[in-house]
Amino acid sequence: MTITEQPPATAGEVGTPRRRKEDARLITGRTMWTENITLPGMLHLAILRSPMAHARITSIDVSPALEMPGVVAAFTGADVADTMGVQPCAWPVTADIVAPTHTPLAIDEVRHMGEAVAVVAARDRASAVDALAVIEVEYEPLPVVLDMEAALAEGADLVHADAGTNKSYTWIFDSAEAGAGGAVADARAEAEVTIKRRYIQQRLIPAFMEPRSVVADPTGDTYTIWSATQIPHILRFLLSAVTGTPEHKIRVIAPDVGGGFGGKLQVTSEELIAFAAAKRLGKPVKYTESRSESLVSAHHGRDVIQDIELTAKRDGTVLGLQVNLIANMGAYLGLVGPGVPILGAFMYNAIYKFKAYRFECSGVFTNTTFTDAYRGAGRPEATYAIERVMDELAVELGMDPIEVRRKNWINADEFPFSTVAGLEYDSGDYEAATARAMSLLGYDELRREQEARRASKDTVQLGIGVSTYTEMCGLAPSRVLGALRYGAGGWESASIRMLPTGKVEVVTGTSPHGQGHETAWSQIVADQLGVPFDDIEVLHGDTRTSYKGLDTYGSRSLAVGGIALYNACQKVVEKAKPIAAHMLECDPADLEFTEGKFRVRGNPDGGKTMADCALAVFAAHDLPDGIEPTLDADAVYDPVNFSFPHGTHLCAAEVDTETGAVKIRSYVAVDDIGKVVNPMIVEGQVHGGLAQGIAQALFEEAVYDDDGNLMSGTFVDYTVPTAGDLPAFITDRTESPAPGHPLGTKGVGEAGTIASTPAVVNAVVDALRPYGVSDIAMPCTPERVWRAIRDASAGGAA
C-alpha cells in the first residue's frame, strides 16, 4: 500500500509539514518489529529472574527444565561465564570510579529484583516459560540497601561487598576552579537572600511501548542480531568489545523500533544472553520481554536527591548557585548511567547570569534496577531544580516569577554567551518566547482570576506555573566528550548514493524509532539535490548498509546528523558539476545549481538535472577526462559546539483543595529550537515530550517496598497517562537559528520533557501558596496534594 503525496506548492521541502513516509507500514500492520521475526529452526528464550533484591545464590539446578517438553537447552551464568561478556559502562566519569562487574546473567549473587539468573531455550515461548517454573534456585538473603543516604553512611551494608563502599564516584565542577566564574563562597558573602531547598527526582521508567526484543542468528562464524535498540552501531561495537567476537563478524539490525526515550540506549543483559545462547546452541534464538519483565529489568531513570542553594540580592539579582546531588545508580552502572547527572551539571545555571556555580554529584549503589538515560537525561532534573528554586526566590522577594527571571536571564543581544558552567550558548531570545507564551496563555487575565479565587476562598484554587528553560542538544563535540571521559565520539555520518535512474538512497548513521527521519531526511535531500521527495529512500539501522554511525539519543540526530547529510549533499553537487558542465559544453565555473538543475549562469533555459548526471556517470561513455564515474558521497560531521534550544512553558492548573485533584486547565509551550525541517514532526515531538514531563509531575513513580520489591511492576501500578489524563496543549515557536548549522536547526526531542515538569509543579504549588504550601513531592497525586494542604494548615500557615 502506498500513500501518494502531492508536492507542496512552495519550492522548498524543508519547513513544510510533510506527512510521514513511515506511516504507510505502521497504520496497516505491516511493520517489522523484532518480535515479528521468525527464522527457520528458531528457538525461543525465557529468562528466570531473581525474586530477591539481594541474595547469594547458594545453588541453582536447571536440569529439571531439560525434562520439560520442547526444551532444548537451559543454562546459568556460570555455564556461559567465559562467553557471555559483561555489560559495558561507557562513561566512567572519574578516574577512580567504582565500576563493579555486571554480568548479563548473575553468578553467585543477585543485586536487584529481576536480575537474570538462568535461561531456557525451547521450541516455542510457552514451553520455555513453562520450564522456568521447575528450575531450582536457592537464595540466601543478604541485607538490602535501598536508601541512598543510608547507603553512604559509615558502616552501611554493601551492594557490592568487594567494592568496600556504596559510592561509585564523586564528580565536581566549580566555576572558580574552571575559570568560568567566581566562587560560591564569595557569592554567599555578598548575598542578601539565601534559598536552600531539597528536591527529589523520583525514579521513573521510560516505558517505551514496544517491549525489548532480540533475535540472534548464527551463520558459520558470523552473527546477525536484530534488536529493538536505539543504538545498533554502538551495540555492534560493544558486542564485539565485550565478547571478543570480531566486529566484522557481527551485523546488527534495528528494524522498526517502537519508542526508546533513552530506555533503549543500552547494551542489555538480554542482548548479551541471546548472543551467548545463539553461539552456544548454533541456532537462531529470539527473546522478547513481557511488560512485567521490562518494567523491572530495563533500565530506570532519574532518582536523584538534589540539595540546592541559591544566593541573591534583595532586588532579585541572583549571585551564586550550589548544587549537591546524590544520584541512584541502582545495582550496577548502565551504559552511560554515571554521566547522566553530569549532562545536567551544565544546565543548573540555565538561562540566568550567575556569578558563581558549584556542582557536586555522588553516584550511589543500591539494590534496585540500574538507572540510565531517560528522555532529557540530567537536563530535566537540572531544569526542575532551578525553575522551582527561582519561583521560591520570587516568593521570598514578593516578585512575579516572570519578573525575577527577566531580571536575571541572558538578553537576546548578549549571545553568544559564555556561561558560569563553561558552555557557550549559541543563540536565543528568551524575551520573545516569554512574551509569546504570556500572550497565548492570557497570563495577566489568569493572574486576576487567581486573585479573585484567593479572595473568595474558592475551594478550587488556580495556579500558574512558569518554566523558562534551556537545554543542550547536538551531542556532542568529540573533544568535549573525551574531556568528560565518555567512551565514544559525538560525530555523525551520512552517505548519498545516486542510482542510475536519478533515484537516491540516503544512508544515515542515526537510528530513528519514531522520530520520522525517513521523512525529514528526505526533505533535506530533496532540497539540496533538487530531486522529488518520493524519489528518496532513507536507509538506517542496519550495520551492513549503514556501517558508520553513532545512533539516536540526546536530540542529536538532526543537530549533528543533519549537518553530515547536508555536507554529503554538497559533495554530490560538487561531483556532478563538472559532469553537467561537460554535457552542457561549458566551464563548470559558469554553472549554478538552482531548483534542481545545473544551468549556465544567466541562462534560465535548458540545463541538466541531478538525474541526468546520475545516468551519465552510470553509462560513463562520455565523461570528462580523469573524472571518477560516481556521484556518491560520504560525510562525517563532528560538531564544534552543542546547540541550545530554549523556550517558555506556562501551565495553568486548577487544584481542588478538598480532594487534592489537579487539573491542567491550560498548557502553553513556546519553544525556540532554531529553524525547523518539518513543523508537523516538531509539534509531535513537543506533544510527546510534554506528556512525559507532565507524567513525572503528576502521575509516574517507580516504587520499591522495604524488601526491594518493585511495587510498580506492571502498567496497573506504573501509571503512564492516558488520553483522558492529559489536556490539549497550545504550542508555538519562536525562531533563533542555530549559528554554524547550515540548516539552522537545534534539536527538539527532549525539550517538552525538560520544560514541562517544573511548569506543572510550579503551578500546583502556586495554587496552594495561600495555604502555606511551598513544595509537594512528585508525583503530585491527589493524596499528596491533599496531605500537603492538611499538613501546612496544621502548621498554622493558612
Binding site: T28, R123, R125, S127, M209, R291, A691, T714, A728
Partner: protein, 200 residues
C-alpha cells in the same frame, strides 16, 4: 487441543489450539497476523485491540490479550491488517492518523486505530472529551495523544460527511485464500511446533 474456526480479515482459519492460548497469540504465532501487537501483560495498554463479532454478529472492540482463542470460535475478527477497503484504500481512521501525524513509533497504532474505529461505531459524533475518555484503554508513549484525538475527530467528520459508518468494509481476501483448511502460511514461518504445549 480444541478445534476452532475463526474468520480473520475475511479468511476462515480452522486450527487446533490449546485451551490456554490467548487470541492475540493465536493471531500472531499461528496465523501470522503480526500486525496486531502485544504491549503489556495486564490488559492495560490496548496495543492488541481488534474487532470481534459479538453473538449478534456486531463487530466490537476487544483486547485480544483478554480473549482466549477458543472464545473466538465461530466469530469474525478484523485486525488492522483487514481494515483497508477494496483496492487497499485506507479506512478513514487510518487516513486521519496519517494526515494528523497521530503516530510516531507506531507500536500502539494498530490497537489505537481499532479502538478508534470501535469508538466511532458507538458514537459517530464524539466531543474531544468523549474521544479522550473513549481511548483511555489504549496507551501511547510518543504523541501525548493530542494528534490522536485530532485524527479521531477528523475521521468522525469524514465518515459523517460520507454518510457511512466506521464499520470497516467487508474484507476481500484474495481468490483461493478464503476457505483454507489450516492457517495456510508457510511451514517455516509459523511451524506447527510453535503451538504452545499443555501445562503439565
Amino acid at each position: 487441543m480444541t478445534r476452532i474456526s475463526v474468520k480473520v480479515d475475511g479468511v476462515r482459519y480452522d486450527d487446533d489450539v490449546e485451551p490456554r492460548t490467548l487470541l492475540v497469540h493465536h493471531l500472531r504465532d499461528r496465523l501470522g497476523k503480526v500486525g496486531t501487537v502485544v504491549g503489556c501483560d495486564t490488559s492495560n495498554c490496548g496495543a492488541c485491540t481488534i474487532l470481534m463479532s459479538d453473538p449478534d454478529g456486531r463487530l466490537v472492540g476487544v483486547k485480544s490479550c483478554s480473549v482466549l482463542a477458543v472464545q473466538a470460535d465461530g466469530r469474525d475478527v478484523t485486525t488492522v491488517e483487514g481494515l483497508s477497503g477494496p483496492d487497499n484504500t485506507l479506512h478513514p481512521v487510518q487516513r486521519a492518523f496519517h494526515e494528523r501525524h497521530a503516530l510516531q513509533c507506531g507500536y500502539c497504532t494498530p490497537g489505537m486505530i481499532m479502538a478508534a474505529v470501535d469508538l466511532l461505531e458507538e458514537n459517530p459524533d464524539p466531543s474531544e472529551q468523549e474521544v479522550r475518555e473513549g481511548l483511555e484503554g489504549n496507551l501511547c508513549r510518543c504523541t501525548g495523544y493530542q494528534n490522536i484525538v485530532r485524527a479521531v475527530l477528523d475521521a468522525a467528520a469524514d465518515i459523517r460527511a460520507s454518510g457511512g459508518t466506521a464499520e470497516p468494509a467487508p474484507p476481500t481476501p484474495e481468490a483461493g485464500e478464503a476457505e483454507t483448511p489450516d492457517s495456510g502460511l508457510p511451514r517455516e514461518a509459523t511451524p506447527d511446533e510453535a503451538v504452545p504445549t499443555p501445562v503439565p
